[in-house]
């Protein structure tokens, strides 16, 4: 039962991460990808700049996975990979991948993990607007 926790400046590959949680006992691999959207509060976004308190973020993500395993006992492998640095529109900032014997728990766990990550883990994004200024105005 692998827990994969990674915070990286490299481009994230959903395919590689899904492969990393694959298992002959898994009937399902459930995944979530967070991608940079081109708008925020009616302003046009060029990129999101992510920063992290890395050692605490890794610790926090690991404890989310541990908690998820207590809630759902059908989980096999869990991977959470988050990018830091620039994440331009269309690019993936975070991937959560879970393999499970049956699909129900995998899907629920992925949903819960991204919701919890977004409120607990010390990672921050800053919008960089196409208009340059910090609030989207010149």
């Amino acid at each position: 039962m692998k827990d994969i926790v990674k915070i990286t400046g490299d481009i994230i590959s959903l395919d590689e991460i899904a492969k990393a949680v694959a298992d002959p006992k898994a009937g399902a691999i459930s995944t979530f990808s967070g991608t940079t959207r081109d708008n925020f509060e009616d302003k046009e976004v060029k990129t999101l700049a992510y920063e992290a308190y890395i050692p605490m973020a890794e610790k926090s993500i690991q404890s989310l996975i541990t908690a998820a395993r207590q809630k759902w006992d059908d989980l096999i492998h869990v991977a959470i990979v988050h990018k830091i640095g620039d994440c331009p529109v269309g690019e993936t900032s975070v991937v959560i991948a879970v393999s499970s014997g049956h699909r129900v728990q995998g899907l629920e766990a992925v949903h819960w993990l991204i919701d919890e990550l977004k409120v607990q883990v010390p990672i921050w994004k800053k919008e960089v607007y196409t208009n340059g200024g910090p609030d989207g105005t010149d």
Binding site: E51, Y53, P55, M56, K118, I123, W124, K126
Partner: protein
């Protein structure tokens, strides 16, 4: 002991972190005062931020005081994912 600044706290203090001289009885309120003395611009951010001590969120523990060698971090509202 050291204090690390992230996100809006880093923008306001214009640095990644600071070292402070340890003394007895620095609780959350005293720490806040120390931080504001060094970086007054941190005021609005500290109002909405949490402290993390040695990588654990510090939960309004009124009996907590900084220990020598602690790593304290200012955690503004998170926005990962």
């Amino acid at each position: 002991f050291k204090v690390l600044y992230f996100a809006s706290a880093k923008d306001a203090s214009k640095t990644d972190g600071d070292k402070f001289e340890w003394s007895d009885n620095i609780n959350a309120e005293a720490l806040t005062k120390l931080l504001l003395e060094r970086h007054p611009d941190l005021a609005p951010i500290l109002k909405v931020s949490m402290f993390a001590v040695n990588m654990e969120y510090m939960d309004q523990d009124l009996s907590w005081t900084v220990q020598p060698g602690d790593e304290v971090a200012i955690i503004p509202p998170v926005s990962g994912g």
